[in-house]
Symmetry: C2
Subunit: 187 residues, 2 copies
DNA sequence: GTCTATATTGTGATAGAC
DNA sequence: GTCTATCACAATATAGAC
């Protein structure tokens, strides 16, 4: 049951953000009453912090899978963008931590900490991938791997936000293709 | 007075988003009581729609100024990024329409319309600038001007979101420099 | 674990006096 | 234009029965 609550809360965060959903919304989605939610997660801070932590953990596992399946940096970066595209393709859902990141000034510290952890892990992983790609001469080396990692992450998070705001938008996958085509060395 | 209300509401939207602030918050900021706000803006939808419309109008004027002051595409694109940097530099404020774009599923139609208008205007302007830059051989021509415009806007909006979520982030200006260095043709 | 009932506070919005 | 008073409702959270 606790997991079904987390699933419902995750979806609500992705669609409406921290202050945009209530315990009653969660209760309706899982089919129990509002006070029963409190039995599983005492406070909203705790609930959303758990949502963010689980999301980050799951994301981390997907990063491991990418490294296992894809050997080279360009393919890894494309697979990374596909993670964002999958999320976005489901009803234009936002990245949990992208949404929460935007609302950071309204969040309890407990949640803010989880959000920042998500971004640090992602920036670290991307930095390593870009760095390897540059060493293998598969990625242009004009800019530091840190800068490239940050730019790539920003573009993907931004693609989801802009994609929600305007119907003409192409989504994270297309943005990634445009970006990577400038960075990948031709062979 | 109506304008002071708009100023306060704009700041609150940038910090907390649509569902993250109340009429009472606005009232406290401008120093009058809650019902007096309703006198100037009957509903919250109307208030935030006006905030977004004024923001878009003001932004449009700044685009005109950039075109007047900067003759070439690269300089125009750098000046464009500086607009985002200015906003972000003030207490890590988000772009009004970036914040609202993230929360689009919780917005009244009236507001959604204004948000989409902001993005369409910006994408149109950027597309024209990239297109001119490519014609003048100042911008690489591997990708369509539409794709480049969308990528650039996404990266800047994303830079504000990510920059809020993680303290190590460098902000829109730095992201823009990394991106443009890949796109501008060396002379 | 789930429920009903309730406390407490906050919300957008209105009525009507000044 | 601003105020006090108030409405109707929704929010997070708790107490205590089953």
């Amino acid at each position: 049951m606790a997991e079904r609550v987390l699933d419902a809360a995750e979806g609500l965060v992705q669609q409406h953000g921290y202050s945009g959903f209530s315990y009653d919304d969660v209760a309706r989605l899982v089919g129990i009453k509002k006070p029963s939610i409190h039995h599983h997660f005492a406070t909203k801070s705790e609930l959303v912090a758990c949502v963010a932590r689980r999301y980050t953990t799951r994301f981390g596992k997907q990063l491991d899978e990418i490294e296992a399946k894809q050997a080279e940096a360009p393919a890894r970066l494309m697979a990374y963008a596909a993670l964002f595209e999958q999320t976005f393709a489901k009803d234009r859902s936002l990245c949990v931590c992208g949404m929460l990141g935007a609302q950071v000034q309204s969040l309890p510290d407990e949640v803010t900490h989880e959000v920042s952890s998500f971004f640090r892990i992602n920036l670290g992983w991307l930095t390593r991938v870009f760095s390897e790609g540059q060493r293998a001469k598969l990625i242009r080396s004009g800019r530091s791997s840190q800068s490239l990692a940050e730019m790539y992450l920003c573009a993907l998070e931004g693609a989801m936000v802009v994609g929600r705001g305007v119907s003409s938008s192409r989504g994270p996958k297309q943005i990634s293709q445009t970006l990577l085509s400038q960075l990948i060395v031709d062979r």
